[in-house]
Structure formats: structure tokens, C-alpha cells
């Protein structure tokens, strides 16, 4: 069975020099789509990506990453809206490249769809009351 999941990888500084992602493709036949990357040799690295492949291989790949010292988080909760701070102005709507925000037509409240969010972070600084938070 095929699986496709979006994950956040935290690399300790000791392994940012290693070709970790390449091995995911070569050894485990997984395909990856990098959403966000911040990896420099000798520093802690961050990689947000969508990883797909046969479930058995996917699990082995994740095991390989964990054993290599990579900390893995699920992406689903990474961009979060602070419901108290959100004023439902709508400034985020045209900023989001994947249309994760929409207006509820009757109330004109702003809806945020986690499923469409690719954690690009554009909304975080563009939100006037700073209601969007990036959690890693």
C-alpha cells in the first residue's frame, strides 16, 4: 500500500553534512517533495517535506532517519491559528499561495484549512494581529 505524508525533519548539527535525503530515495525507493529547507553544514537543520512510497519502505525510511539521529514531527499541527488573536479581517486570504484561507460567505469569518496548508509561513508575518504561529 502506498502512503504519502508531510513531515518535519530536525537534523542535529552532526549529520547535516550527510546525504540523508538521497539515501531515502536510493535505499528505500521513496519520492520526496521538499516544501521548506534550511540545512547548512555544521548547523542544526530543518526540512519540511512530503514523503511518499510503499508503506513498508516508508516505515523503513523513517526508521533509518530516526536511527541517524533525525527528529521527526508530523506536519499537521505546524501552522496554528491563535483563535483569540485572529480578528477575521481576511488579510491572509490573498497572501496564501495554496488558498488555505477562505471566507465563510454568510458570516464573513475567515476559515483556515490545515489540509491545504504547506507550511510556507507567508501568512505568519503578513497577519496584522500575528494570529498565525509556526510551531516546530
Amino acid at each position: 500500500m502506498d502512503v504519502s505524508r508531510r513531515i518535519v525533519l530536525h537534523f542535529p548539527s552532526s549529520i547535516t553534512g550527510q546525504p540523508v535525503v538521497y539515501r531515502l530515495a536510493r535505499d528505500f525507493d521513496l519520492t520526496f517533495n521538499i516544501i521548506k529547507a534550511s540545512v547548512s553544514p555544521g548547523e542544526e537543520g530543518l526540512l519540511v517535506m512530503e514523503l511518499s512510497g510503499i508503506e513498508e519502505n516508508y516505515d523503513k525510511g523513517i526508521q533509518y532517519l530516526t536511527e541517524a539521529g533525525v527528529k521527526i514531527q508530523s506536519l499537521s499541527q505546524d501552522v496554528v491559528r491563535d483563535e483569540v488573536r485572529c480578528t477575521h479581517c481576511g488579510a491572509c486570504i490573498t497572501i496564501c499561495p495554496t488558498s488555505a484561507f477562505s471566507l465563510e460567505p454568510k458570516t464573513r469569518r475567515v476559515l483556515f484549512s490545515h489540509d491545504k496548508c504547506v507550511v510556507c509561513g507567508l501568512c505568519v508575518k503578513a497577519c496584522p494581529p500575528r494570529a498565525m504561529r509556526l510551531y516546530f
Binding site: T87, H88, C89, A91, C92, T94, T107, K125, A126
Partner: protein, 402 residues
């Protein structure tokens, strides 16, 4: 048919007043007809909730022992500088003020995560605020340094005094250039890929009283979750702006200066706000009740988004260069549909002003009046109308001769 404010106040006291929001009145006027609606409805409540930069707070922090003269000295609240050109312990905190070590736009676009507007929100929320002051010392005010926490509960006065709020209509901002712009109207994508507007439209106070026939100096209002008053016409008040046949301005026109006791306001209605690449400001909640004194007043309040038009302005060239050119006009109904047609393009729209919050304000004000907690006031003087000759003057620069 005509009513007086005194008669409406009697109805409020007797629990017989009929109050509707500026949204509800649109359908009611259609249903009942102008004459019957004007007869039955006593008050129409309006609301707006958007970033309003010309906002600030006067504080009197009380005299420490020994005394200090902050006037002429330097004072910071949570590292944000306040104005000290006043007497010993009075200061003014402006919504746009920034900590001196904020990098501003040195790392473009600057984030502006904390400034005067945020200090105001923290004060209203009842949080302790760090006050650090230096002064020059006098015989009667010997102290030269003061470092203390202050809290809105303990200081003598905290007065919100916003010199320009509740703009009667405003620009729709777009960007014709090929690079992203970071403006007070939000992030504007290149090549006309978005259009930002900022108004409550059919709910907005001055769009429901276009000729200022009921809103004047002394009008009691909802301000920041508490009670406030219209203090004066706001700065840049421009009653002579272009108007439609319905009297509604088609450009930025009237403004309000408002005042109120910050101590009885609420942080959810005074929100510290950061505009990427621009600066800090305060998002302010204002609601104004409009007494239905005549059919004419009701006519004005039944205005709907389809009948209010705003100019579309290019913020890459026309706005910064102060050119009068506009790209066209669009109605708020079009803007609220999520897309407008401009220069042959289908342009997505977004608002900086919150319509759901504006509606909430209009409903809160409605409930205050219905419960008899809020009586209307008679303005002590009208706001200047077109006949005043007031216009919006540009600055004509003149060389300084030595």
C-alpha cells in the same frame, strides 16, 4: 414623521426602544418602506474594527517619592518611547511608536512585532508594564532616574485619544509594479495580483451618516469595548470629497477624533497590530448609534455595499508620489465578492478591516441600548460639512532661508 433624541432616550428608559444594526436596516427598509421603517426604528447601530494609526493614550502615572519631572526627559514603556513634552508625570503613548533598538526596515521587510499599539493592548489587558525614565532633575523634582512596573489599575488616568479614526471610505490598494510592496494596506503582490481594502462598508459609522446630520462633537459611542465620545472632527477631515447621488463619499472623506477612559475598555477591541515592512499600529473597535430622527436619516442608514464605491489606487507610484490618479472605482459588494475586474485582470481581494467584528460591535451597542445601559447624547456642535470650506491641504514645501 420626526423624533427627537430626548424622545428616543425616554423609550430607552422605558424599555420600548427599537434598535437595529446598519446591516438589518437594509432589508427592513425594503420590507416596510422608508416611511414605516423610520416610524418604527429608533436607533441604527454601526460598527467598524480596523487598523487606525492615529491612535494613542495619555497617561498620568502618579508622583513617585521623591518626585521626578518626566517632562523634557526620556520615558520608555516596555522599551517603547513615549512623548514627554508635558507636565511632570503626564506622557503620551502613540500607537506607531517603536523601541529604539527595533531594526525597522533595516532588514527589509521589517517585522514590527511590538510597538505602541501593543503596549496599549497590554495596558488594557491589565498587564504590568515596565517604565524606565531619565530626567534632568530640578529643585522641586530632584529624581533623575525611575524604574518601575506600572499597571492601568494603579495609575491616575489612562485616556485613549485618537486624533483620526473611522475614516469615511478609503482607498483600495493595488500594486502595478513588478515587485512585492509592504504597505500600511498590507502586502501587495506585484502586477496587480491582489487588492486590499479597509472598511466595514454598509456597517461603517460615517458611511451611514454621510452628511454628519446626527454624529457630532459629544456623540456618545462604543470605543474599544467601553464608552467613548466624539471629541472633534478627525485630522484630514475632508467633507468636500467627491460624493455620489446618495451623498455617500466616493473617496476618503470625513474622519472622527474620539476620546474615552481606557480603564473601562477591553483588549479584544484594542489590538496591537503589526504591518509587515510598515510599522506598528492599533486595531480599534468603534460603534456609533444613529438616532432615526427623520425619514431622511433612515434613508442614509439603509445604504448597502452595492451603493458604496471606493477608488482603486496604485501604491507603487500614484500613492507614494501623491499623484491624484486612480485606476477606477469599485463597489464594496464587488470587493466583498472576493474578486474585482481591474485593467482587464481578475484580481483577488482581501480586507484589513474585520466585518464580523464590526457586526459584533454593532450588536453589542444594540444590546446596550435595548437594555437601557446606553443613552444617546445630543451633539454639542456638528462636524464640519462641505459648506465649512475645509479641504485636504497638501504640504507645499518652502526653502528655509538662513
Amino acid at each position: 414623521m420626526s423624533k427627537t433624541i430626548a424622545e428616543i432616550n425616554e423609550k430607552i428608559k422605558n424599555g420600548k426602544v427599537v434598535v437595529v444594526t446598519a446591516e438589518e436596516v437594509i432589508d427592513l427598509a425594503k420590507e416596510k418602506g422608508i416611511s414605516r421603517a423610520a416610524e418604527e426604528i429608533d436607533v441604527v447601530t454601526t460598527g467598524t474594527f480596523g487598523p487606525m494609526c492615529s491612535s494613542g493614550v495619555f497617561l498620568n502615572i502618579g508622583h513617585p517619592r521623591p518626585r521626578i519631572k518626566l517632562g523634557g526627559g526620556k520615558v520608555y514603556l516596555n522599551d517603547v518611547p513615549v512623548y514627554t513634552g508635558l507636565a511632570a508625570v503626564d506622557v503620551f503613548l502613540g500607537a506607531n511608536a517603536l523601541p529604539e533598538d527595533d531594526p525597522r526596515n533595516k532588514f527589509y521587510p521589517g517585522e514590527f512585532n511590538y510597538g505602541g499599539g501593543h503596549v496599549i493592548e497590554d495596558l488594557v489587558a491589565g498587564k504590568d508594564v515596565r517604565l524606565i525614565a531619565t530626567a534632568y532633575g530640578t529643585d522641586c523634582y530632584p529624581r533623575k532616574k525611575l524604574e518601575t512596573l506600572i499597571n492601568i489599575r494603579d495609575i491616575n488616568e489612562a485616556i485613549l485619544f485618537n486624533i483620526r479614526n473611522a475614516y469615511q471610505n478609503y482607498n483600495v490598494a493595488v500594486n502595478l509594479s513588478d515587485r512585492t510592496l509592504y504597505t500600511y494596506m498590507g502586502v501587495l503582490k506585484p502586477n496587480l495580483r491582489n487588492a486590499n481594502y479597509s472598511t466595514a462598508g454598509q456597517l461603517s459609522p460615517l458611511l451611514n451618516d454621510p452628511y454628519y446630520k446626527t454624529i457630532g462633537i459629544g456623540t456618545k459611542i462604543f470605543l474599544g469595548g467601553g464608552i467613548g465620545y466624539v471629541a472633534w472632527h478627525g485630522t484630514q477631515h475632508n467633507p468636500a470629497a467627491l460624493r455620489g447621488d446618495n451623498g455617500v463619499p466616493r473617496r476618503g472623506a470625513g474622519t472622527l477624533a474620539v476620546i474615552g477612559d481606557l480603564k473601562q475598555m477591553r483588549p479584544e477591541w484594542l489590538v496591537g497590530t503589526s504591518m509587515l515592512g510598515y510599522g506598528c499600529t492599533l486595531t480599534v473597535g468603534i460603534g456609533v448609534p444613529i438616532p432615526i430622527l427623520s425619514e431622511e436619516i433612515l434613508q442614509y442608514t439603509r445604504v448597502s455595499d452595492a451603493e458604496i464605491f471606493a477608488p482603486v489606487v496604485d501604491y507603487s507610484e500614484a500613492y507614494p508620489q501623491r499623484e491624484p490618479d486612480i485606476l477606477g472605482e469599485v463597489s464594496y459588494a464587488e470587493l466583498k465578492s472576493g474578486r474585482i475586474k481591474m485593467e482587464g485582470k481578475d484580481v483577488p481581494t482581501a480586507s484589513l478591516s474585520s466585518y464580523p467584528k464590526a457586526l459584533e460591535i454593532a450588536n453589542i451597542l444594540k444590546s446596550w441600548i435595548e437594555k437601557g445601559e446606553f443613552l444617546l447624547t445630543e451633539p454639542v456642535a456638528p462636524l464640519p460639512g462641505a459648506e465649512s470650506g475645509i479641504t485636504l491641504k497638501p504640504l507645499i514645501e518652502r526653502p528655509i532661508e538662513e
